[in-house]
Amino acid sequence: MAKSPEEEHPHKAFGWAARDSSGVLSPFHFSRRENADEDVTIKILYCGVCHSDLHSIKNDWGFTSFPIVPGHEIVGVVTNTGKAVKKFKVGDRVGVGVLVSSCKNCENCQQDSENYCPQMTLTYNSIYHDGTKTYGGYSDTVVVDERYVLRFPDNLPPDAGAPLLCAGVTVYSPMKYYGMTEPGKHLGVAGLGGLGHVAVKFGKAFGLKVTVISSSPKKEDEALNRLGADSFLVSSDPAKMKAAFGTMDYIIDTVSAVHALAPLLGLLKVNGKLVTVGLPEKPLELPIFPLVMGRKLVGGSDFGSVKETQEMLDFCAKHGITADIELIRMENINSAMERLAKSDVRYRFVIDVANSLSQ
């Protein structure tokens, strides 16, 4: 008979989990595996609240296995290292993102793209090599193979830096891969939330002209005056959208709900690229004529590899880029989720795990 979450591993752990698709989170006792030779054990300090966490606790995508402990924007401190560990020592500040394992043999793994390994193991809601379920960062500790652990730069604040581990790399990786980094080019950022606001910051750091495309006119002031975007386009204003037709070299589409691609494709110049990183529940409608008549492309990107995440963290440390966050206590997570569902956050909740997660 399968062991209970509390008994399956030798080290006690405590976190908050959702038990069913109501998505309500509550205290949950479970356990973490023995620290193997390549593993590090991490005491969790902060964990970002990603929209994927919300999708997962509600089982929006249909593959959640309850109970589920979400959280894949983890920052903490190393408390134990296995004997084969080379990159870290006890006391190091580290991060864990969206994945905690992969096959290590396939072409993707061999080329530092573990995030595209068909057998990758996600930080939560996946099955690990030992057959047990992975539990994420809304918890006090986590044990991870060092290959998938990030060095967290000392000069990056651990709370405001936590969202970089998913939101950050999810925009950084495609911006690099699809070549959205030529100074002077024009980037559109669709959606101004956890991902979008970081994309604006990266865009400016790459020397791009940045236009925020949003359905909420009230985000204009923030976008221009606080985040440093060069212009703001209200997507529900047909005249303004038409005037901006054919002006952008690239667009990062961070919108997670189902939405129309045609207007965004119209904003692109010839050879323009639209990269979508949101995960809507249903397929989107893709008009082909604009693609053919302008040699445009629509690309996808998941999050980022370990190597890219590390590169991004170091880039952020160098350029002073962090997320704009609202720090919350663990016990307020359910109201945070309700607010997140209404996009009522500027722009990422981060759970102060170490100071508020008490048994």
Partner: protein, 362 residues
């Protein structure tokens, strides 16, 4: 009052035109402009029959101007050149493809991408700079600005090279632009028709491994034995499709009818690209998860710029690549259109203008 097609220009011309949306073509007298200082006039010898011609004669896209003389895969021999023309001389073998004019000053034009210029002028059924309608290659002569003239090397077979001017460039351009044109890449070609068969030939010439993806088992032998494809995937066979998942670097999709793209996206490896050349009228469903989970791309492409067309023609000459054609007489063209509508051609009709058009003059 507007002049008639016969009178609006100084040089007599004769061709076949569609008069209305029935798409039926018949003899048509019109005229061509005088050879301007940058123009080249040539006697048309052959003209390929493109599926676009079929769409345009029946006004499928709502942009046809009647009477409509189709044809944008025309080749012939130069008879006159303007005083400023440097590219060609009388007697040279030349061709004209899909575009005969553009603004020449926008970003696209300066980057040799005239086909993407917002003011681009198509070879037929479009208004030219002088306000007159353009007429295509189902005719005895053609006058075009030197920039839009493609030079053909002496030793190529002109009739079999005519389809390169649209079908050829439409597959060559994305094979290069999207990085499929490399040794060792595994490329899928969806649809084995005018475009598809040339895509196979070009991709093989680039050193790629080629799989033809088709709904018709009858095309398998052709694909493997005659065109040199490495393998054939029957898209209706679920087992074959399953086995081919995540094996292709790129897919060139030449099918213009609406069809699901999820199975094609699944054939791609990580970072793979699906390039659509046919544009169905309605949007397709884009499954987002598979795109994201493999960092895959869906893109479109339309013919190519003039510089690239010349490059392609030279490449084809060097590698002995021509289209597989069925040469027809001018008066056969309506029957050819009916057969084309059913995909009954291997793989491009080419009208023997030089030898059969004049006989149809009333």
């Amino acid at each position: 009052m507007a002049k008639s097609p016969e009178q609006e220009h100084p040089k007599k011309a004769f061709g076949w035109a569609a008069r209305d949306t029935s798409g039926v073509l018949s003899p048509f007298k019109f005229s061509r402009r005088a050879t301007g200082e940058e123009d080249v006039t040539f006697k048309v010898l052959y003209c390929g029959v493109c599926h676009s011609d079929l769409h345009m004669t029946t006004n499928d896209w709502g942009m046809s101007i009647y009477p409509l003389v189709p044809g944008h895969e025309m080749v012939g021999e130069v008879t006159e050149v303007g005083s400023k023309v440097k590219k060609v001389k009388v007697g040279d073998k030349v061709g004209v493809g899909c575009v005969v004019g553009a603004c020449h000053s926008c970003e696209n034009c300066t980057n040799d991408l005239e086909v993407y210029c917002p003011d681009m002028i198509l070879t037929y059924s479009t208004i030219y700079h002088d306000g007159t309608i353009t007429y295509g290659g189902y005719s005895d002569t053609m006058v075009a600005n030197e920039r839009y003239i493609i030079r053909f090397p002496e030793n190529v077979s002109l009739d079999a090279s005519a389809p390169l001017l649209c079908a050829g460039i439409t597959v060559y351009s994305p094979l290069k632009y999207f990085g499929f044109a490399e040794v060792g890449k595994h490329i899928g070609v969806v649809g084995l028709g005018g475009l598809g068969h040339l895509a196979v030939k070009f991709a093989k010439a680039f050193g790629a491994k080629v799989t033809v993806i088709s709904t018709s088992i009858s095309k398998k032998e052709e694909a493997l034995e005659h065109l040199g494809a490495d393998s054939f995937l029957l898209s209706r066979d679920q087992e074959q499709v399953q086995a081919a998942k995540s094996t292709m670097d790129g897919i060139i999709d030449t099918v213009s009818a609406s069809h699901p793209i999820l199975p094609l996206i699944e054939l791609l490896k990580t970072n793979g690209k699906l390039v659509l050349l046919g544009a169905p009228e309605k949007p397709l469903e884009l499954p987002v998860f598979p795109l994201l989970m493999g960092r895959k791309t869906v893109a479109g492409s339309a013919t190519g710029g003039l510089k690239e067309i010349q490059e392609m023609v030279d490449f084809a000459a060097k590698h002995n690549i021509t289209a597989d054609t069925e040469l027809i007489s001018m008066e056969y063209v309506n029957t050819a259109m009916e057969r084309l509508a059913k995909g009954d051609v291997r793989y491009r009709f080419v009208i023997d203008i030089g030898n059969t058009l004049a006989a149809t003059k009333p």
